[in-house]
């Protein structure tokens, strides 16, 4: 298995835990001998974690309901 195949074709399934056994063996053998792909895999996982965490950042929280938005919504309520 080459780096291009690992990263492009099999990485997503590996992270999901859905690689077929034969392909999994080849994938893991490649990781045993390729530090660059190990780094790519780890940083890919970190990317997913960072995206998820950024989606829950405190600055997205709503501290107070914006009153002007409440009024605007109620004003356009279909009657």
């Amino acid at each position: 298995m080459k780096c291009a195949d690992l990263i492009t074709m099999f990485l997503a399934e590996y992270v999901d835990g859905t690689l077929p056994p034969e392909t999994l063996a080849d994938f893991e053998h490649h990781l045993d001998v390729c530090a660059s792909c190990v780094a790519y895999l780890n940083t890919y996982r970190e990317t997913i974690a960072m995206a998820a965490a950024a989606g829950t950042a405190p600055r997205l929280d709503v501290q107070d309901v914006p009153e002007e938005l409440v009024r605007a919504i109620l004003d356009v309520r279909p009657r």
């Binding site: 997503a12 780094a39 780890n42 940083t43 970190e46 995206a51 950024a54 929280d61 309901v65 109620l74």
Partner: protein
């Protein structure tokens, strides 16, 4: 949701269906925080997020008659605001799909990466304790082409399943998987310069 909450929600739904004005205001005040938080994840400006929330409530008011009592209001409204955001994003379509190629890893004829990957110096957890890097991650997500950004938002941030995301976007589950992988790869490329060890 416990039995008391279920009864309260059923009562609110009944009042909404009867057109009770107070019930609409209650609905808006109760669920706006959740919906605005979701819209802020999808939209690129506060103004656009508020507009999407307004669209969502209008849609909800119009379709309350079709709300199934067996479902939860919060789940139903979450779906409505996600759809409202996606519709707004489509009218603002900025980055063509082809732009993602520049963010994907490149390989030589021997199949190796053109630029070797390196481990990042800190973990995601420690990095995101620093507010400025949360902003960097958000800006990087915003740079993604829209069709890929939407999938990333739905799967990795809103935590929809592949099938739910496919149904929301009107594409196949396979298309969602391919787009998500490319979106993640592109996001990794955008974050890598901030996270790699600094070499002198």
């Amino acid at each position: 949701m416990d039995a008391v909450q279920q009864r309260q929600e059923a009562s609110l739904v009944a009042l909404l269906r009867s057109g009770d004005p107070g019930a609409f205001e209650t609905l808006v005040r109760l669920y706006m925080p959740m919906m605005l938080r979701v819209a802020r994840r999808f939209m690129r400006s506060e103004e656009d997020a508020r507009d999407a929330v307004q669209d969502a409530f209008v849609s909800a008011f119009r379709s309350i008659g079709r709300f199934e009592s067996s479902a939860r209001l919060s789940t139903w409204l979450h779906r409505i605001v996600v759809n409202a955001c996606l519709m707004r994003l489509r009218t603002q379509r900025r980055h063509p799909e082809e732009d993602i190629e520049e963010y994907l890893p490149r390989f030589g004829e021997d199949g190796h990466q053109v630029q070797r990957s390196e481990m990042w110096t800190e973990t995601a957890e420690s990095i995101l304790e620093r507010t400025e890097l949360t902003g960097i991650v958000r800006n990087a997500i915003d740079q993604l082409p829209d069709t890929y950004r939407e999938v990333l938002l739905l799967r990795d941030i809103e935590e929809l399943s592949t099938d739910e995301a496919a149904a929301t976007l009107g594409v196949t589950a396979n298309a969602v998987k391919i787009r998500l992988h490319r979106a993640r790869q592109a996001l990794r490329t955008l974050l890598d310069p901030y996270m790699r060890p600094v070499t002198s």
